[in-house]
Structures are given as C-alpha cells and as structure tokens.
C-alpha cells in the first residue's frame, strides 16, 4: 500500500491551489469587466436598462452560488454544447462576481456629490464623458477597499466549483482524504491554505479602509 507523508499531502494540495488562484483571478477580472458594463447601465438613468440590471443583480445576489453553478452546468448543455466543469465554473463565478461588484461600485458612484454631476452636465459633457472624467476617478478611490474585501468572497466562492467536479483546492482535499483517510489533517491543511490566500486580502482591505477615513 502506498503511504502518504504529510509533505505528500501538502505538496499535492499546493498543486491544486494553483487552480484555485487561476479561477479566482479569472472570475475577478472577468466579473470586474462585466460589472463595469453593468455599472454604466445601472447608473445610466435609462429606465429599461436600470430595470434589467436590477433583475440581474437581484437574481445573482438572491440565489445560492451553488445553484448558479448547477444551472450553468446543466443549462448550457441543453443547447447541445459540451460543458466542462471548468467552463461552467468560470461563467457562474464571473456573473456572480459581476453582480456583487456592480452593487458595490454603484454605492461608490452614488456617494459622489450631486454637484459633480450637475457641474459636468453644465459643461456639456455626455454621460460617458461624465463617468470617464469626473465620476469614476473619484468613485474608484472609495471603491478600492470594498473591492479588495470582496475578492476574499471570490476566492472562497471558487471552493464551490469542487461540487461540479472542477479540481481545485477543496476537490483535491476531498480526493486526498479518500486516498489517505486522514480527514482531520487534510481539511486542516486545506483550511490553512485558504486562510493564507484570504487573510492578506482581508487585512489589506481593512488597512485601505482605515487610510481612506484618514484622508477625509
């Protein structure tokens, strides 16, 4: 019988951690891009656009991420497209992330004083010019801390991809547990690795929050 040392388990978990990181980054970056597009729609003041984005956000914030993963995994397959766990996970996490980021960023945009909008309107700026040159540069400063804070949720969210069979840190933990029968050790190590990924981000978010309050 093959014997597993603690180092064997740990090094295998580290290999899988790479996929957790890759999935997190892709979800965060793509989610950020989709979220930015949605932010423009959400704050545009065009009724149908606002309405559609509101429904989108309500859906992705009001349903479990796990269910969204299932829906993407089984839903895309209905169109006759072969879905890999990787593709379903990336898509679900991207859309889920975008909904939360849009909501966070909307709060930041709305915290910009109304006078800024009025001043830029009186300078005959279009909506996109206002956002690009006046609102977003100011809003983005406020947005940094909560955005970094949310990235922790994205990293933790990727753990659910294990359920539809994507091999990342959690799935690797389950597989190693099945091979070694040492659940206490395996899941402690898995938790430890997640902690090492997430804690620096949480810590940074807290520090950024503090710095912003001083600046005001």
């Amino acid at each position: 019988m093959v014997q597993f040392t603690v180092w064997d388990i740990f090094s295998n978990l580290l290999i899988a951690t790479e996929w957790t990181i890759i999935l997190s980054i892709i979800a965060f970056v793509c989610g950020g891009i989709v979220g930015l597009v949605l932010l423009f729609a959400r704050t545009s003041g065009v009724r149908p656009l606002v309405f559609v984005t509101k429904i989108y956000i309500e859906f992705f914030q009001g349903t479990p991420l796990l269910m969204q993963l299932f829906l993407f995994f089984f839903g895309i397959a209905l169109f006759g497209i072969e879905v890999s766990p990787w593709m379903a996970a990336t898509m679900a996490l991207t859309f889920w992330t975008s909904a939360f980021l849009t909501e966070i960023w909307r709060g930041c945009v709305e915290s910009i004083p109304k006078g800024q909008w009025e001043a830029s309107t009186s300078l005959a700026m279009t909506y996109f010019e206002q956002m690009r040159y006046v609102i977003l540069p100011q809003a983005s400063r406020i947005a940094v801390a909560p955005t970094v804070g949310f990235s922790v949720q994205v990293v933790k969210g990727t753990a659910l991809a294990s359920i539809i069979g994507f091999v990342e840190l959690t799935k690797a933990g389950t597989m190693l547990n099945n091979a070694t029968f040492r659940p206490f050790l395996v899941y402690s190590l898995v938790a430890l690795i997640y902690f090492c990924l997430c804690f620096p981000l949480s810590f940074m978010a807290k520090k950024l929050e503090g710095r912003l309050n001083v600046a005001r």
Binding site: G62, F74, L78, L160, N177, Y187, F199
Partner: protein, 221 residues
C-alpha cells in the same frame, strides 16, 4: 434540435422539495438565533472582556471569515470524527452554520458596540447601573439598532450559503433538488425551480427582517 423544458415531471416530487425547503427554513432560523447569540457574546467579550479572551475571539473570527464555508463543513463532518467527535449530518450542518454566522455577526456587532459613544456608558455607570445593565440597556440596545441592516443581509447570505450543507447529505432544499434530479434526470428544470425557491425565500426573509426591525426599533428607519 432544441430541448423542451418539462416541468410537469417534477410534480410527483413536490413533497420532497417542500420538505427540503422546510429544512432550509428551520436551519436558517435556528442558526440565526444561535449565531447572533454567539456573535453578541463574542463581540462583548472582544470589547469588554480580558485581553486573552479578546485574542481567542479574534482568531475565531479571522479563521472563519477567511476560509470557505464548505471547508468548515467538511472539517466538522469528516475531520472531527477522526478526533473523536462524531456528529450526524444534520447536527454538523447546524453546528457549521452557527459557527459561521457567529463569526460574521461578532464582527458586525462589534462595529455597532464601538459606535456607542463612551459618554453613554459613563452616564449609565454614574446612574449606579451594574455592568450587565449597562451592557444590556445602553450598549447592545444601541449597537443592534445601528447594525440591524448589516446583520439582516448577512443572515440572507448565510441562508443562501446553506445550500452547501447538501454536500454532507443534510436534507435541505439543494439535497432535495439533487435527489429529484437523480430520479427523473430533469436536472435543469429541478435546479431552476429550486433556484427560484431560494430567490423567493431571500426576498421573503428580507421583508420579514425589515418588518421585525420596524417592530423592535420603532425610532430607527
């Protein structure tokens, strides 16, 4: 060829799904009550307790907030038996939910406690109130009023997160959906129905919490 959705095939399983829904609701209510109690104790200990106790609370909060719920669940359900603590799946699900919400609500309530002006506490002490009376009537009373909206959204987040307990075969709504999917192979239909049930549950929970908030804190909001 386009696939035709067939929701009618789910009808024979309505009782399974309903049972799952009830489990999810009970799980949410119980873990909310216990989790907020843990959070109140944790936040009070962190702010007013001795330093060593405060450190334990910090470690607890940070450990839980920086690891995924599913890993916590697996640790409790698979890991603890190896250390001699055996739990059935329902107990493990409840325990994991309480521990998880406890950590988040500790952090939320602590923010509320810290927002209470120091003068109020001193005023209470000068009125010969005991330490507990000050905590109960002055500190927590005001703290909860302030953080109620934040706590409400955390409760909904935890409720949605509870879908994961199906993975240790605790029989919640997601477990029921998995069960039905394995029987009639209408995966998409059943998950769509379950997802909408969660959405309705989230909207209803939000409304209920808002209503309760209005009853408890008449002055606020």
């Amino acid at each position: 060829m386009l696939y035709k959705l067939q929701f009618a095939e789910l009808l024979p399983y309505w009782d399974v799904l309903l049972q799952g829904l009830v489990f999810t609701i009970v799980l949410t209510i119980v873990s909310t009550a216990a989790g907020v109690a843990v959070g109140t104790a944790g936040a009070s200990a962190r702010t007013f307790g001795p330093a060593w106790l405060g450190w334990i609370v910090v470690v607890y909060v940070e450990l839980i907030r920086n690891t995924p719920f599913i890993v916590q669940l697996f640790f409790i359900f698979f890991g603890l038996p190896a250390a001699g603590v055996k739990l059935d799946e329902t107990t493990a699900a409840f325990l994991a939910m309480v521990i998880n919400l406890g950590a988040y609500s500790t952090e939320i309530i602590r923010a509320g406690i810290e927002a209470v002006p120091k003068g109020h506490i001193e005023a209470g002490v000068s009125l010969a109130m005991t330490k507990w009376e000050v905590l109960r009537h002055i500190v927590l009373n005001q703290a909860f009023r302030k953080i109620y909206p934040a706590l409400s959204s955390q409760i909904i987040i935890v409720m949605l997160g509870s879908a994961v307990v199906s993975q240790i075969s605790a029989q919640d709504l997601t477990y029921a959906a998995n069960f039905v999917a394995s029987r009639d192979f209408r995966n998409f239909e059943v998950y769509l129905v379950a997802t909408l049930a969660y959405l309705v549950l989230a909207i209803v929970t939000r409304a209920v919490l808002r209503g309760l908030g209005r009853i408890f804190f008449k002055a606020a909001s």
